[in-house]
Protein backbone atom coordinates (compact mmCIF):
# COMPACT_ATOMS: atom_id res chain seq x y z
CA UNK A 1 0.00 0.00 0.00
CA UNK A 2 1.28 3.39 -1.01
CA UNK A 3 0.08 6.94 -0.76
CA UNK A 4 1.39 8.65 -3.86
CA UNK A 5 0.97 11.76 -5.96
CA UNK A 6 0.17 10.45 -9.41
CA UNK A 7 0.37 12.61 -12.48
CA UNK A 8 -2.62 12.35 -14.79
CA UNK A 9 -1.62 11.22 -18.26
CA UNK A 10 -5.10 11.46 -19.65
CA UNK A 11 -8.64 11.61 -18.35
CA UNK A 12 -11.06 11.42 -21.20
CA UNK A 13 -14.65 10.60 -21.91
CA UNK A 14 -15.15 7.11 -23.33
CA UNK A 15 -18.82 7.48 -24.01
CA UNK A 16 -21.89 8.86 -22.23
CA UNK A 17 -20.82 9.54 -18.67
CA UNK A 18 -17.93 7.05 -18.68
CA UNK A 19 -14.39 8.29 -18.27
CA UNK A 20 -11.01 6.67 -18.67
CA UNK A 21 -8.21 7.91 -16.42
CA UNK A 22 -4.54 7.03 -16.66
CA UNK A 23 -2.08 7.91 -13.93
CA UNK A 24 1.65 7.63 -13.50
CA UNK A 25 1.97 5.47 -10.39
CA UNK A 26 4.93 3.09 -10.67
CA UNK A 27 4.88 1.82 -7.08
CA UNK A 28 1.21 0.99 -7.17
CA UNK A 29 1.44 -0.41 -10.71
CA UNK A 30 4.10 -2.87 -9.63
CA UNK A 31 2.01 -4.40 -6.87
CA UNK A 32 -1.50 -4.29 -8.30
CA UNK A 33 -3.66 -7.36 -8.74
CA UNK A 34 -6.97 -7.59 -10.56
CA UNK A 35 -9.86 -6.83 -8.22
CA UNK A 36 -7.84 -4.44 -6.10
CA UNK A 37 -8.74 -0.79 -6.03
CA UNK A 38 -7.45 2.71 -5.52
CA UNK A 39 -8.76 5.31 -3.13
CA UNK A 40 -8.53 8.68 -4.80
CA UNK A 41 -8.67 12.15 -3.32
CA UNK A 42 -10.56 14.03 -5.99
CA UNK A 43 -10.46 17.48 -4.41
CA UNK A 44 -8.31 19.57 -2.12
CA UNK A 45 -11.37 21.06 -0.49
CA UNK A 46 -13.79 19.43 1.96
CA UNK A 47 -16.30 18.84 -0.82
CA UNK A 48 -16.29 15.93 -1.23
CA UNK A 49 -14.57 15.13 2.01
CA UNK A 50 -13.76 11.45 1.58
CA UNK A 51 -11.68 9.67 -1.02
CA UNK A 52 -13.44 7.78 -3.79
CA UNK A 53 -12.76 4.06 -4.27
CA UNK A 54 -12.21 3.05 -7.90
CA UNK A 55 -11.11 -0.33 -9.22
CA UNK A 56 -7.87 -0.84 -11.05
CA UNK A 57 -8.94 -1.24 -14.63
CA UNK A 58 -5.57 -1.84 -16.18
CA UNK A 59 -1.86 -1.62 -15.51
CA UNK A 60 0.53 -0.68 -18.25
CA UNK A 61 4.13 -0.50 -17.15
CA UNK A 62 4.46 2.38 -14.70
CA UNK A 63 0.93 3.53 -15.32
CA UNK A 64 -2.37 2.59 -13.86
CA UNK A 65 -5.78 3.04 -15.40
CA UNK A 66 -9.24 3.53 -14.02
CA UNK A 67 -12.60 3.45 -15.73
CA UNK A 68 -15.36 5.31 -14.00
CA UNK A 69 -18.84 6.63 -14.41
CA UNK A 70 -19.84 10.13 -13.33
CA UNK A 71 -22.64 9.49 -10.83
CA UNK A 72 -22.24 12.23 -8.25
CA UNK A 73 -20.12 15.12 -7.14
CA UNK A 74 -16.90 13.19 -6.51
CA UNK A 75 -16.75 11.58 -9.90
CA UNK A 76 -17.86 14.88 -11.44
CA UNK A 77 -14.94 16.72 -9.88
CA UNK A 78 -12.61 13.93 -10.98
CA UNK A 79 -13.86 14.14 -14.55
CA UNK A 80 -12.86 17.80 -14.67
CA UNK A 81 -9.19 17.11 -14.02
CA UNK A 82 -6.82 17.30 -16.93
CA UNK A 83 -3.48 15.83 -18.00
CA UNK A 84 -0.55 17.05 -15.94
CA UNK A 85 -2.64 17.55 -12.82
CA UNK A 86 -1.64 15.46 -9.85
CA UNK A 87 -3.91 13.23 -7.78
CA UNK A 88 -3.34 11.93 -4.26
CA UNK A 89 -3.92 8.19 -4.58
CA UNK A 90 -3.78 5.32 -2.10
CA UNK A 91 -3.39 1.80 -3.43
CA UNK A 92 -3.39 -0.97 -4.25
CA UNK A 93 -6.11 -1.77 -1.72
CA UNK A 94 -8.05 -4.91 -0.92
CA UNK A 95 -7.39 -8.52 -1.77
CA UNK A 96 -8.16 -8.96 -5.44
CA UNK A 97 -9.36 -12.01 -7.36
CA UNK A 98 -7.65 -15.35 -6.83
CA UNK A 99 -6.60 -16.86 -10.14
CA UNK A 100 -2.93 -17.80 -9.76
CA UNK A 101 -3.70 -20.94 -7.78
CA UNK A 102 -5.06 -22.49 -10.93
CA UNK A 103 -2.21 -21.22 -12.99
CA UNK A 104 0.22 -23.08 -10.82
CA UNK A 105 -1.77 -26.07 -9.70
CA UNK A 106 -3.81 -26.93 -12.74
CA UNK A 107 -3.57 -27.30 -16.44
CA UNK A 108 -6.12 -24.55 -16.89
CA UNK A 109 -9.59 -23.31 -16.22
CA UNK A 110 -12.59 -22.06 -18.00
CA UNK A 111 -13.35 -18.64 -16.54
CA UNK A 112 -16.56 -16.74 -16.93
CA UNK A 113 -16.20 -13.04 -16.20
CA UNK A 114 -19.48 -11.30 -15.53
CA UNK A 115 -19.69 -7.55 -15.37
CA UNK A 116 -22.87 -5.66 -14.64
CA UNK A 117 -22.74 -1.98 -15.55
CA UNK A 118 -19.54 -0.40 -14.23
CA UNK A 119 -18.62 -3.84 -12.88
CA UNK A 120 -16.68 -4.56 -16.04
CA UNK A 121 -13.94 -2.15 -14.91
CA UNK A 122 -11.85 -4.54 -12.78
CA UNK A 123 -12.59 -7.52 -15.03
CA UNK A 124 -10.57 -6.09 -17.90
CA UNK A 125 -7.49 -6.23 -15.70
CA UNK A 126 -8.36 -9.81 -14.80
CA UNK A 127 -8.87 -10.73 -18.48
CA UNK A 128 -5.48 -9.22 -19.17
CA UNK A 129 -3.84 -11.45 -16.55
CA UNK A 130 -5.67 -14.48 -17.88
CA UNK A 131 -4.45 -13.67 -21.37
CA UNK A 132 -0.98 -13.60 -19.87
CA UNK A 133 -1.44 -17.07 -18.40
CA UNK A 134 -2.68 -18.33 -21.74
CA UNK A 135 0.33 -16.85 -23.43
CA UNK A 136 2.43 -18.94 -21.07
CA UNK A 137 0.81 -22.08 -22.41
CA UNK A 138 -1.79 -22.90 -19.83
CA UNK A 139 -5.26 -23.81 -20.98
CA UNK A 140 -7.23 -20.78 -19.90
CA UNK A 141 -10.43 -19.87 -21.61
CA UNK A 142 -12.13 -16.63 -20.78
CA UNK A 143 -15.71 -15.89 -21.62
CA UNK A 144 -17.07 -12.48 -20.75
CA UNK A 145 -20.69 -11.56 -20.10
CA UNK A 146 -21.53 -7.91 -20.05
CA UNK A 147 -24.84 -6.76 -18.72
CA UNK A 148 -26.33 -3.29 -18.76
CA UNK A 149 -29.59 -1.40 -18.81
CA UNK A 150 -29.32 -0.39 -22.40
CA UNK A 151 -26.90 -0.31 -25.31
CA UNK A 152 -25.35 2.99 -24.24
CA UNK A 153 -24.19 1.40 -20.98
CA UNK A 154 -22.34 -1.50 -22.59
CA UNK A 155 -18.66 -0.75 -22.22
CA UNK A 156 -15.32 -2.53 -22.68
CA UNK A 157 -16.54 -5.01 -25.28
CA UNK A 158 -13.60 -4.24 -27.54
CA UNK A 159 -11.07 -4.40 -24.70
CA UNK A 160 -12.18 -7.89 -23.79
CA UNK A 161 -12.13 -9.07 -27.40
CA UNK A 162 -8.66 -7.64 -27.89
CA UNK A 163 -7.59 -9.73 -24.91
CA UNK A 164 -8.85 -12.86 -26.65
CA UNK A 165 -12.07 -13.31 -24.71
CA UNK A 166 -15.33 -14.35 -26.25
CA UNK A 167 -17.90 -11.74 -25.33
CA UNK A 168 -21.67 -11.88 -24.96
CA UNK A 169 -23.88 -9.00 -23.89
CA UNK A 170 -27.29 -8.62 -22.39
CA UNK A 171 -29.41 -5.52 -22.01
CA UNK A 172 -32.54 -5.07 -19.96
CA UNK A 173 -34.32 -3.45 -22.88
CA UNK A 174 -32.87 -5.73 -25.54
CA UNK A 175 -31.30 -2.81 -27.38
CA UNK A 176 -28.09 -4.82 -27.65
CA UNK A 177 -27.37 -8.55 -27.39
CA UNK A 178 -29.52 -10.84 -25.29
CA UNK A 179 -32.70 -9.23 -23.99
CA UNK A 180 -32.95 -9.76 -20.28
CA UNK A 181 -30.80 -10.14 -17.26
CA UNK A 182 -27.18 -11.13 -17.52
CA UNK A 183 -27.82 -13.86 -14.96
CA UNK A 184 -30.40 -15.44 -17.27
CA UNK A 185 -27.79 -15.46 -20.00
CA UNK A 186 -25.39 -17.10 -17.55
CA UNK A 187 -27.92 -19.79 -16.74
CA UNK A 188 -28.42 -20.51 -20.47
CA UNK A 189 -24.70 -20.88 -20.91
CA UNK A 190 -24.21 -23.11 -17.91
CA UNK A 191 -27.07 -25.38 -18.98
CA UNK A 192 -25.35 -26.08 -22.28
CA UNK A 193 -21.77 -25.93 -21.08
CA UNK A 194 -19.34 -28.76 -21.74
CA UNK A 195 -17.35 -29.33 -18.62
CA UNK A 196 -13.99 -29.93 -20.28
CA UNK A 197 -12.27 -27.69 -17.81
CA UNK A 198 -13.20 -26.61 -14.29
CA UNK A 199 -15.31 -23.48 -14.45
CA UNK A 200 -14.84 -20.43 -12.26
CA UNK A 201 -17.02 -17.38 -12.20
CA UNK A 202 -15.65 -13.89 -11.49
CA UNK A 203 -18.27 -11.24 -11.11
CA UNK A 204 -18.58 -7.57 -10.32
CA UNK A 205 -21.70 -5.46 -10.50
CA UNK A 206 -24.87 -4.47 -8.67
CA UNK A 207 -25.70 -6.22 -5.43
CA UNK A 208 -28.79 -7.97 -6.79
CA UNK A 209 -26.82 -9.43 -9.68
CA UNK A 210 -24.17 -10.75 -7.31
CA UNK A 211 -26.80 -12.26 -5.06
CA UNK A 212 -28.33 -14.05 -8.03
CA UNK A 213 -24.91 -15.28 -9.13
CA UNK A 214 -24.32 -16.67 -5.66
CA UNK A 215 -27.52 -18.67 -6.01
CA UNK A 216 -26.47 -19.92 -9.44
CA UNK A 217 -23.03 -20.77 -8.13
CA UNK A 218 -24.55 -22.84 -5.36
CA UNK A 219 -27.03 -24.54 -7.67
CA UNK A 220 -24.46 -25.54 -10.29
CA UNK A 221 -21.69 -26.17 -7.79
CA UNK A 222 -19.43 -23.71 -9.59
CA UNK A 223 -17.15 -21.53 -7.49
CA UNK A 224 -17.77 -17.81 -7.90
CA UNK A 225 -15.66 -14.91 -6.77
CA UNK A 226 -17.62 -11.74 -6.45
CA UNK A 227 -16.45 -8.20 -5.89
CA UNK A 228 -18.64 -6.22 -3.47
CA UNK A 229 -19.18 -2.56 -2.83
CA UNK A 230 -19.96 -0.81 0.41
CA UNK A 231 -19.73 2.83 1.34
CA UNK A 232 -16.14 3.43 2.42
CA UNK A 233 -14.77 6.06 4.76
CA UNK A 234 -11.12 4.97 5.08
CA UNK A 235 -10.57 2.21 2.52
CA UNK A 236 -7.72 0.75 4.57
CA UNK A 237 -9.55 -1.30 7.17
CA UNK A 238 -9.38 1.22 9.99
CA UNK A 239 -12.91 2.55 10.43
CA UNK A 240 -14.96 -0.66 10.24
CA UNK A 241 -17.44 1.25 8.11
CA UNK A 242 -17.66 -1.01 5.06
CA UNK A 243 -18.57 -4.31 6.61
CA UNK A 244 -20.52 -7.07 4.94
CA UNK A 245 -22.30 -9.90 6.63
CA UNK A 246 -20.43 -13.18 6.00
CA UNK A 247 -20.39 -16.66 7.40
CA UNK A 248 -17.32 -15.65 9.41
CA UNK A 249 -19.11 -12.61 10.84
CA UNK A 250 -18.89 -9.03 9.67
CA UNK A 251 -15.94 -8.47 7.37
CA UNK A 252 -14.47 -5.34 5.85
CA UNK A 253 -15.04 -4.98 2.13
CA UNK A 254 -12.02 -2.69 1.80
CA UNK A 255 -9.54 -4.97 3.53
CA UNK A 256 -10.93 -8.51 3.66
CA UNK A 257 -12.53 -7.94 0.24
CA UNK A 258 -13.68 -6.47 -2.05
CA UNK A 259 -13.54 -9.98 -3.52
CA UNK A 260 -15.30 -12.72 -1.57
CA UNK A 261 -16.24 -16.25 -2.42
CA UNK A 262 -19.92 -16.15 -3.24
CA UNK A 263 -20.73 -18.83 -0.69
CA UNK A 264 -19.25 -16.81 2.15
CA UNK A 265 -21.84 -14.05 1.98
CA UNK A 266 -24.99 -13.97 4.09
CA UNK A 267 -27.42 -12.26 1.76
CA UNK A 268 -30.38 -10.68 3.42
Amino acid sequence: MFQIKGKILYNKKVKGSYFHLALEAPDIAKESLPGQFLNIKVSNTYEPLLRRPLSIHSVRGRNIEVLYEVVGKGTKVLSEKGPGEVLDVIGPLGNGFTFNSWAHGLAGSRTILIGGGMGVAPLVFLADKIAGLRARGTKFKAQVLIGAKTKGNIICEKEFKDLGCSVKSATDDGSYGFKGRITDLLKNILRSASYDLPITIYACGPRLMLKEISAISRKYGIPAQISLEEHMACGIGACLGCVVNTKQGLRRVCKDGPVFNADEINWK
Binding site: Q3, L49, R51, A233, A238, G241, C242, V243, L250
Partner: protein, 304 residues
Amino acid sequence: MQTKLSVSIGKLKLKNPVMVASGTFGYAEEFKDFIDLSGLGAIVTKTVTLRPRRGNPPPRTCETPAGMLNSIGLENPGLESFIHDKLPVLKKIGIPIIMSVASEGDLEEFIELVKRLDKINEIAALELNLSCPNIKRTGLISQDPEATYSLVKAVRKKTKKTLITKLTPNVTDITKIAKQAQAAGSDAVSLINTLTGMSIDVNKRTPKVACIIGGLSGPAIRPVAVRMVWEIYREIKIPIIGMGGIMDTASALEFFIAGASAISVGTANFINPKVSLEIISGLKQYLSRNKIRDINQLIGSIRT
Protein backbone atom coordinates in the same frame (compact mmCIF):
# COMPACT_ATOMS: atom_id res chain seq x y z
CA MET B 1 14.61 27.93 16.87
CA GLN B 2 14.36 24.98 19.21
CA THR B 3 10.77 24.47 20.24
CA LYS B 4 9.37 22.27 22.93
CA LEU B 5 6.37 20.19 21.97
CA SER B 6 6.10 17.92 24.98
CA VAL B 7 3.06 18.12 27.21
CA SER B 8 1.75 16.27 30.25
CA ILE B 9 -1.64 14.66 30.61
CA GLY B 10 -1.93 13.46 34.18
CA LYS B 11 1.07 11.22 34.83
CA LEU B 12 1.53 10.75 31.16
CA LYS B 13 4.30 12.62 29.37
CA LEU B 14 3.84 12.98 25.63
CA LYS B 15 6.81 13.88 23.45
CA ASN B 16 4.39 15.82 21.31
CA PRO B 17 0.74 16.73 21.75
CA VAL B 18 -0.65 15.04 18.65
CA MET B 19 -2.57 11.84 19.07
CA VAL B 20 -5.03 9.90 16.96
CA ALA B 21 -8.66 9.61 18.00
CA SER B 22 -10.43 6.48 19.10
CA GLY B 23 -12.11 4.55 16.32
CA THR B 24 -10.37 6.38 13.51
CA PHE B 25 -7.01 4.65 13.59
CA GLY B 26 -8.04 1.01 13.95
CA TYR B 27 -5.43 -0.63 16.12
CA ALA B 28 -2.68 1.30 14.33
CA GLU B 29 -1.44 -1.53 12.11
CA GLU B 30 -3.63 -0.31 9.26
CA PHE B 31 -1.48 2.83 9.10
CA LYS B 32 1.99 1.36 9.28
CA ASP B 33 2.51 1.42 5.50
CA PHE B 34 1.86 5.15 5.43
CA ILE B 35 3.60 6.68 8.41
CA ASP B 36 6.23 6.07 11.03
CA LEU B 37 3.88 5.38 13.90
CA SER B 38 6.57 6.05 16.48
CA GLY B 39 6.41 9.74 15.57
CA LEU B 40 2.98 10.18 17.14
CA GLY B 41 2.46 11.63 20.59
CA ALA B 42 0.15 8.78 21.54
CA ILE B 43 -2.35 6.40 20.05
CA VAL B 44 -5.88 6.05 21.36
CA THR B 45 -7.30 2.66 20.48
CA LYS B 46 -10.72 1.90 19.06
CA THR B 47 -13.03 1.55 22.05
CA VAL B 48 -12.86 -1.91 23.62
CA THR B 49 -15.61 -3.55 25.65
CA LEU B 50 -15.37 -6.50 28.00
CA ARG B 51 -17.01 -8.88 25.57
CA PRO B 52 -16.71 -8.86 21.79
CA ARG B 53 -19.26 -6.60 20.09
CA ARG B 54 -20.63 -7.13 16.64
CA GLY B 55 -21.63 -3.53 16.17
CA ASN B 56 -24.34 -2.19 13.91
CA PRO B 57 -25.54 -3.48 10.54
CA PRO B 58 -24.28 -1.86 7.32
CA PRO B 59 -24.44 0.70 5.78
CA ARG B 60 -22.51 2.29 8.59
CA THR B 61 -21.13 5.46 7.07
CA CYS B 62 -22.19 8.21 4.74
CA GLU B 63 -20.82 11.53 3.69
CA THR B 64 -22.37 14.86 4.68
CA PRO B 65 -21.35 18.43 3.85
CA ALA B 66 -17.75 18.71 5.10
CA GLY B 67 -18.37 15.75 7.36
CA MET B 68 -19.47 12.18 7.69
CA LEU B 69 -21.85 10.11 9.76
CA ASN B 70 -20.85 6.81 11.30
CA SER B 71 -22.77 4.23 13.21
CA ILE B 72 -20.16 1.56 13.75
CA GLY B 73 -21.75 0.69 17.07
CA LEU B 74 -18.51 0.01 18.91
CA GLU B 75 -17.65 -3.13 16.99
CA ASN B 76 -14.59 -4.61 18.70
CA PRO B 77 -13.11 -8.01 19.44
CA GLY B 78 -13.54 -7.71 23.21
CA LEU B 79 -10.98 -7.33 25.95
CA GLU B 80 -9.23 -10.69 25.82
CA SER B 81 -8.78 -10.71 22.10
CA PHE B 82 -7.56 -7.11 22.24
CA ILE B 83 -4.93 -8.03 24.81
CA HIS B 84 -3.74 -11.05 22.86
CA ASP B 85 -3.92 -9.90 19.27
CA LYS B 86 -3.78 -6.13 19.20
CA LEU B 87 -1.83 -4.97 22.20
CA PRO B 88 1.45 -6.77 21.34
CA VAL B 89 1.50 -4.97 17.98
CA LEU B 90 0.69 -1.61 19.55
CA LYS B 91 3.30 -2.11 22.27
CA LYS B 92 6.10 -2.51 19.72
CA ILE B 93 5.51 0.98 18.36
CA GLY B 94 7.10 2.35 21.50
CA ILE B 95 4.80 5.28 22.19
CA PRO B 96 2.10 5.66 24.84
CA ILE B 97 -0.99 3.61 24.14
CA ILE B 98 -4.18 5.08 25.52
CA MET B 99 -6.87 2.51 25.70
CA SER B 100 -10.42 3.61 25.08
CA VAL B 101 -12.92 1.57 27.05
CA ALA B 102 -16.68 1.42 27.33
CA SER B 103 -19.24 -0.67 29.08
CA GLU B 104 -22.16 -2.23 27.31
CA GLY B 105 -24.10 -2.68 30.45
CA ASP B 106 -23.72 -1.66 34.02
CA LEU B 107 -21.12 -0.02 36.19
CA GLU B 108 -19.81 -3.40 37.36
CA GLU B 109 -18.75 -4.28 33.87
CA PHE B 110 -16.81 -1.03 33.62
CA ILE B 111 -15.11 -1.74 36.93
CA GLU B 112 -14.19 -5.25 35.87
CA LEU B 113 -12.67 -3.92 32.67
CA VAL B 114 -10.66 -1.29 34.47
CA LYS B 115 -9.43 -3.64 37.19
CA ARG B 116 -8.15 -5.99 34.54
CA LEU B 117 -6.43 -3.21 32.59
CA ASP B 118 -4.87 -1.61 35.64
CA LYS B 119 -2.37 -4.46 35.76
CA ILE B 120 -1.26 -4.16 32.18
CA ASN B 121 1.84 -2.02 31.97
CA GLU B 122 1.75 -1.47 28.24
CA ILE B 123 -1.37 0.61 28.65
CA ALA B 124 -0.33 4.14 29.44
CA ALA B 125 -3.73 5.61 30.16
CA LEU B 126 -7.42 4.88 29.94
CA GLU B 127 -9.95 6.94 28.05
CA LEU B 128 -13.48 6.42 29.31
CA ASN B 129 -15.89 6.49 26.44
CA LEU B 130 -19.08 7.52 28.17
CA SER B 131 -20.26 9.26 25.12
CA CYS B 132 -20.79 6.90 22.29
CA PRO B 133 -24.17 7.81 20.85
CA ASN B 134 -24.67 4.52 19.12
CA ILE B 135 -25.53 2.16 21.92
CA LYS B 136 -29.28 2.23 22.18
CA ARG B 137 -30.31 3.61 25.50
CA THR B 138 -32.22 6.71 26.45
CA GLY B 139 -29.54 9.22 27.19
CA LEU B 140 -25.88 8.51 27.74
CA ILE B 141 -23.90 8.57 30.94
CA SER B 142 -21.93 11.42 29.49
CA GLN B 143 -25.10 13.48 29.06
CA ASP B 144 -25.76 13.35 32.79
CA PRO B 145 -23.41 15.18 35.18
CA GLU B 146 -24.24 12.96 38.17
CA ALA B 147 -23.90 9.70 36.28
CA THR B 148 -20.59 10.92 34.92
CA TYR B 149 -19.42 11.74 38.42
CA SER B 150 -20.37 8.33 39.87
CA LEU B 151 -18.82 6.39 37.06
CA VAL B 152 -15.54 8.26 37.00
CA LYS B 153 -15.36 8.12 40.79
CA ALA B 154 -15.88 4.36 40.82
CA VAL B 155 -13.32 3.78 38.11
CA ARG B 156 -10.85 6.14 39.75
CA LYS B 157 -10.81 3.94 42.84
CA LYS B 158 -9.73 0.95 40.81
CA THR B 159 -6.79 2.35 38.90
CA LYS B 160 -3.76 4.57 39.31
CA LYS B 161 -3.41 4.98 35.57
CA THR B 162 -4.01 8.32 33.97
CA LEU B 163 -7.75 8.61 33.42
CA ILE B 164 -9.21 10.61 30.56
CA THR B 165 -12.95 11.18 30.38
CA LYS B 166 -14.30 11.62 26.87
CA LEU B 167 -17.21 14.01 26.57
CA THR B 168 -20.11 14.11 24.18
CA PRO B 169 -21.08 17.45 22.64
CA ASN B 170 -24.77 16.53 22.66
CA VAL B 171 -25.46 18.38 25.88
CA THR B 172 -26.91 21.70 26.95
CA ASP B 173 -23.93 22.68 29.08
CA ILE B 174 -20.64 20.88 28.56
CA THR B 175 -18.94 22.69 31.43
CA LYS B 176 -21.17 20.92 33.94
CA ILE B 177 -20.09 17.50 32.74
CA ALA B 178 -16.44 18.48 32.58
CA LYS B 179 -16.53 19.80 36.13
CA GLN B 180 -18.03 16.56 37.39
CA ALA B 181 -15.36 14.53 35.61
CA GLN B 182 -12.72 16.68 37.28
CA ALA B 183 -14.36 16.45 40.68
CA ALA B 184 -14.48 12.66 40.40
CA GLY B 185 -10.75 12.48 39.84
CA SER B 186 -10.36 12.36 36.09
CA ASP B 187 -6.86 13.47 35.07
CA ALA B 188 -8.04 14.99 31.82
CA VAL B 189 -11.03 15.37 29.57
CA SER B 190 -11.11 14.73 25.86
CA LEU B 191 -13.68 16.25 23.53
CA ILE B 192 -15.63 16.23 21.38
CA ASN B 193 -17.06 12.91 20.48
CA THR B 194 -19.40 13.01 17.50
CA LEU B 195 -22.55 15.14 17.30
CA THR B 196 -25.57 12.98 16.65
CA GLY B 197 -26.94 13.44 13.19
CA MET B 198 -28.98 11.89 10.46
CA SER B 199 -29.04 11.91 6.72
CA ILE B 200 -31.76 10.69 4.36
CA ASP B 201 -31.62 9.21 0.89
CA VAL B 202 -34.51 11.18 -0.57
CA ASN B 203 -35.05 8.86 -3.49
CA LYS B 204 -35.31 5.73 -1.39
CA ARG B 205 -36.77 7.64 1.56
CA THR B 206 -34.55 5.69 3.92
CA PRO B 207 -31.88 6.79 6.35
CA LYS B 208 -28.37 6.67 4.86
CA VAL B 209 -26.93 4.70 7.77
CA ALA B 210 -28.82 1.59 8.78
CA CYS B 211 -29.10 2.64 12.42
CA ILE B 212 -30.92 5.82 11.33
CA ILE B 213 -28.86 8.07 13.57
CA GLY B 214 -25.09 8.30 13.42
CA GLY B 215 -22.25 10.36 14.77
CA LEU B 216 -21.23 13.43 12.82
CA SER B 217 -17.49 14.07 12.53
CA GLY B 218 -15.13 16.01 10.31
CA PRO B 219 -14.50 19.70 9.61
CA ALA B 220 -18.23 20.53 9.74
CA ILE B 221 -18.24 20.13 13.53
CA ARG B 222 -15.02 21.99 14.25
CA PRO B 223 -16.63 25.29 15.32
CA VAL B 224 -18.70 23.42 17.90
CA ALA B 225 -15.63 21.56 19.16
CA VAL B 226 -13.45 24.67 19.46
CA ARG B 227 -16.24 26.48 21.27
CA MET B 228 -16.60 23.68 23.80
CA VAL B 229 -12.86 23.45 24.44
CA TRP B 230 -12.80 27.18 25.09
CA GLU B 231 -15.83 27.03 27.40
CA ILE B 232 -14.34 24.22 29.45
CA TYR B 233 -10.85 25.69 29.58
CA ARG B 234 -12.06 28.54 31.73
CA GLU B 235 -13.88 26.26 34.14
CA ILE B 236 -11.54 23.36 34.89
CA LYS B 237 -7.92 22.86 35.85
CA ILE B 238 -7.20 19.44 34.37
CA PRO B 239 -5.82 19.28 30.83
CA ILE B 240 -8.03 19.11 27.77
CA ILE B 241 -7.48 16.90 24.75
CA GLY B 242 -9.22 18.64 21.89
CA MET B 243 -10.64 17.08 18.77
CA GLY B 244 -13.39 17.45 16.22
CA GLY B 245 -12.68 18.27 12.60
CA ILE B 246 -8.94 18.73 12.86
CA MET B 247 -7.73 18.49 9.28
CA ASP B 248 -4.39 20.27 9.25
CA THR B 249 -2.00 22.40 11.30
CA ALA B 250 -4.20 25.48 11.23
CA SER B 251 -7.21 23.64 12.58
CA ALA B 252 -5.09 21.92 15.24
CA LEU B 253 -3.81 25.33 16.32
CA GLU B 254 -7.36 26.57 16.92
CA PHE B 255 -7.71 23.95 19.64
CA PHE B 256 -4.44 24.79 21.39
CA ILE B 257 -5.22 28.48 21.32
CA ALA B 258 -8.70 27.76 22.70
CA GLY B 259 -7.21 25.81 25.59
CA ALA B 260 -6.35 22.24 24.61
CA SER B 261 -3.11 20.74 25.92
CA ALA B 262 -3.12 18.06 23.25
CA ILE B 263 -5.19 17.24 20.21
CA SER B 264 -6.51 14.13 18.53
CA VAL B 265 -6.87 13.62 14.81
CA GLY B 266 -9.93 11.63 13.80
CA THR B 267 -11.72 11.61 10.47
CA ALA B 268 -8.75 13.30 8.80
CA ASN B 269 -6.81 10.03 9.08
CA PHE B 270 -9.19 8.53 6.54
CA ILE B 271 -8.51 11.24 4.03
CA ASN B 272 -4.80 11.63 4.58
CA PRO B 273 -3.14 8.89 6.62
CA LYS B 274 -0.04 11.09 6.97
CA VAL B 275 -1.89 14.04 8.43
CA SER B 276 -0.96 13.54 12.08
CA LEU B 277 2.77 13.66 11.32
CA GLU B 278 2.24 16.62 9.02
CA ILE B 279 0.55 18.43 11.89
CA ILE B 280 3.47 17.73 14.22
CA SER B 281 5.91 19.36 11.86
CA GLY B 282 3.45 22.14 11.11
CA LEU B 283 3.19 22.93 14.82
CA LYS B 284 6.97 23.18 15.07
CA GLN B 285 7.07 25.61 12.19
CA TYR B 286 4.30 27.73 13.66
CA LEU B 287 6.00 27.91 17.04
CA SER B 288 9.34 28.93 15.63
CA ARG B 289 7.80 31.40 13.18
CA ASN B 290 5.97 32.99 16.09
CA LYS B 291 8.95 32.74 18.44
CA ILE B 292 7.12 30.59 20.95
CA ARG B 293 9.57 28.28 22.70
CA ASP B 294 7.13 25.92 24.30
CA ILE B 295 3.74 24.76 23.09
CA ASN B 296 2.50 25.11 26.65
CA GLN B 297 2.67 28.86 26.14
CA LEU B 298 0.24 28.57 23.29
CA ILE B 299 -2.40 26.72 25.27
CA GLY B 300 -5.38 28.97 25.96
CA SER B 301 -3.56 31.96 24.50
CA ILE B 302 -6.58 33.38 22.72
CA ARG B 303 -6.88 37.15 23.03
CA THR B 304 -10.52 38.03 23.53
